[in-house]
């Protein structure tokens, strides 16, 4: 299951279904080449330092001239590679053509073929492969000048193999390991056969041992096995890491998609809700005019303006007018609800004094309270508290709350209306000593058209929209509403609204005519 190694069928399907899930391969590779360049500087300096120490501490003869020549060559090569990488970073080359294309494609995994920026990816891969090949050659030369197969540093080829497994595809890693083995074998066999000159490392192997076929073959086998095993392990671990990386990229992209889809769904839901409210408002509005005409006509008949009305027809007309009035109240409530739900589109913000707003609402309700024999206690802020609200909506909210409290409070009870402002928040609280609401009904009292059984019993003609309007208005003002109630003891409803920024206009005030 390796993306960059021998590509399995499953991997390929993955890659074609979601090509953009592949991490930006070229950028990743170029970054790693930068790391390789730094590593090479360390190697050059390290080998030079080691040579200086070794020639002083160990009684061995070292061919310093050729060794330093190889190191200088490697340093020069590193400079060239640095320039090449810089050019690759700043340009977007097209893909190579012909045999170069075919050859370089051998070095990158199939899912990366034909992707956007393939040119850069292929060139980066070629560069990485070329570098490692040169590194292998450099190490082979260093070894050749310092004992060949005798030199224990022959195992340093493992580092090249590991680097290859990190940088390159699995295929290329094995290829590089193979190149390393061929180079070592060439040095060993060349020296054993006398084709190449042997520079002995005194005392490491028995003298002349580099010429014994069995010993050389055994050493070569161990080195080759080590290299291929590390190629296998290194590329397996690298493939695992790459898969993880790809999974993380894919996962975060999926999460992003999900969040986008959720947001879109929410927005559509909101639009639908708004369209519903608009529709409701239009329908209610269309009902209003004919209904008003019906009310006027029935009133005219009842008031005898069309001639004296006998008792029994009068009774029927009275019923008709009562129901027409009820329908009109329902229509008004629907309008108020739709207006509050359409929120900012419909709101007319103005700055009003919370105290006088509440006082006006209470004043309006006083005749009803007096008729019923219910006491009204008002607690208002001591200093004027200017709040920016939709005055009409808030009047409706207060009217509904106080109206409800009075309606469901028997004679002798008390209705308490409280208003206060703390910081940016306004709290309006209306409590009563009325019939209360059964606990199981509490969660539903703010639903449209819901009326609990005891409320219906006490006041048959409510619309069931009053508290829905209260909640909609509270939400329109960026707040909310809470209710606490005990059957037989009373109900307390608390509305919280958030103050908007002050407006400068104050339209309610009377000014002198010029």
């Amino acid at each position: 299951m390796s993306r960059h190694g021998t590509v399995t069928g499953a991997d390929e399907r993955d890659a074609t279904s979601a090509p953009s899930a592949v991490p930006p391969a070229a950028a990743e590779l170029i970054g790693r080449i930068g790391w390789l360049i730094r590593l090479r500087w360390v190697a050059v300096v390290g080998v030079a330092a080691f040579l200086e120490i070794a020639r002083r501490l160990f009684p061995v003869h070292l061919e310093l001239g050729p060794l330093y020549l190889v190191l200088a060559g490697l340093a020069g090569f590193n400079l060239v590679v640095t320039l090449l990488v810089r050019r690759l970073r700043s340009s977007e080359p097209g893909p190579p053509r012909g045999w170069a294309m075919r050859l370089s494609r051998l070095l990158v995994p199939r899912p990366l073929w034909g992707l956007e920026g393939e040119g850069r990816t292929l060139r980066a891969a070629a560069l990485a492969n070329g570098q490692i090949a040169i590194d292998l050659l450099a190490l082979a030369l260093l070894l050749h000048f310092s004992g060949g197969i005798e030199n224990p540093f022959v195992f340093f080829f493992v580092f090249h193999t590991i680097i290859a497994s990190i940088l390159l595809s699995r295929r290329a890693t094995y290829l590089q390991a193979g190149v390393a083995v061929v180079l070592i074998a060439a040095v060993a066999v060349g020296e054993a056969s006398g084709f190449l000159r042997h520079f002995p490392l005194d005392g490491v192997w028995r003298e002349g041992a580099y010429r014994q076929p069995a010993l050389v073959a055994a050493q070569l086998f161990v080195v080759a096995a080590t290299l291929f095993l590390s190629a296998y392990m290194g590329s397996t671990i690298a493939a695992h890491l790459r898969n993880r990386e790809r999974d993380v990229v894919q996962l975060s992209r999926q999460l992003g998609d999900k969040a986008d889809r959720l947001e879109e769904a929410y927005r559509r839901l909101h639009d639908i809700e708004q369209a519903k409210s608009r529709y409701m408002r239009k329908v209610a509005h269309e009902l209003r005019s004919p209904l008003a005409t019906v009310q006027t006509a029935l009133s005219a008949v009842l008031e005898g303006l069309a001639g004296e009305l006998p008792e029994r027809p009068r009774e029927l007309v009275e019923r008709a007018r009562r129901r027409a009035d009820e329908l009109a109240r329902l229509t008004e409530d629907l309008l108020a609800l739709a207006r509050a739900r359409e929120a900012h589109e419909m709101a007319e913000w103005e700055e009003v004094d919370l105290g006088s707003l509440i006082a006006d609402a209470v004043h309006e309700a006083m005749p009803t309270a007096a008729d019923k024999g219910v006491a009204v206690v008002v607690e208002l802020p001591t200093s004027p508290a200017l709040v920016s609200v939709d005055r009409r909506a808030l009047q409706q909210l207060l009217g509904n709350l106080i109206g409800n409290a009075l309606r469901y409070t028997p004679t002798g009870g008390t209705v308490t209306v409280r208003g206060e402002r703390t910081g940016d928040e306004v709290r309006i609280e209306v409590g009563d000593t009325g019939i209360g609401i059964p606990a199981e009904d509490l969660p539903r009292v703010f639903d449209e058209f819901f009326r609990s059984a005891n409320a219906r019993h006490m006041a048959p003609d409510g619309t069931g929209l009053g508290l829905a309007i209260v909640r909609a208005v509270a939400e329109q003002h960026g707040g909310g509403v809470e209710i606490a109630s005990t059957v037989g003891e009373g109900t307390r409803i608390t509305v919280r609204i958030v103050c908007r920024k002050s407006l400068s206009r104050n339209p309610g005030e009377r000014i002198e005519h010029p």
């Binding site: 509005h285 209003r288 008003a292 005409t293 006027t296 069309a306 339209p507 009377r510 000014i511």
Partner: protein, 143 residues
């Protein structure tokens, strides 16, 4: 004189016009009717009403307002002074606040509309008769 005043009703709701006619006639007024602004203007010229009951809406949401300003802009002093009672659900439909001419030298901030009174729909017959009586009593034509 008030009892025989002539009242023009301008409203596109024919049923409401018929109902208001009945109410006003029961109060002893003579009634002429129109169903849109053009017809209303023609009636004013032809019948010289003492008072106009004017619907704000008619087919188009602001036609009533335009009618008021057109009438108040007429050259003929007797035409442009005809008192108007506006029939409205005004705060609902227009999102504006209009205040009638209070006649006492003060007015409320907001939009000013040179009419003598506003009457909310649904119109209560007794309320209508009372308002009509009051406006006619104040009207300069009567004094």
């Amino acid at each position: 004189m008030t009892e025989h005043a002539k009242i023009l009703i301008v409203d596109d709701d024919r049923d409401l016009v018929a109902t208001l006619r009945l109410v006003l006639e029961s109060g002893g007024y003579r009634v002429v009717t129109a169903h849109d602004a053009e017809e209303g203007m023609a009636r004013i010229e032809q019948d010289r009403p003492d008072l106009i009951l004017l619907d704000v809406m008619m087919p188009d949401a602001t036609e009533g307002f335009h009618f008021v300003w057109r009438l108040r802009g007429r050259k003929e002093p007797d035409l442009r002074a005809v008192p108007i009672i506006m029939l409205t659900a005004i705060h609902e439909r227009t999102e504006l606040r209009f205040y009638p001419d209070s006649g006492d030298g003060t007015y409320q901030a907001g939009e000013f509309l040179p009419v003598q009174d506003f009457l909310d729909k649904p119109v209560a017959p007794k309320e209508l008769l009372e308002r009509v009586r009051r406006v006619l009593a104040l009207s300069p034509a009567e004094s």
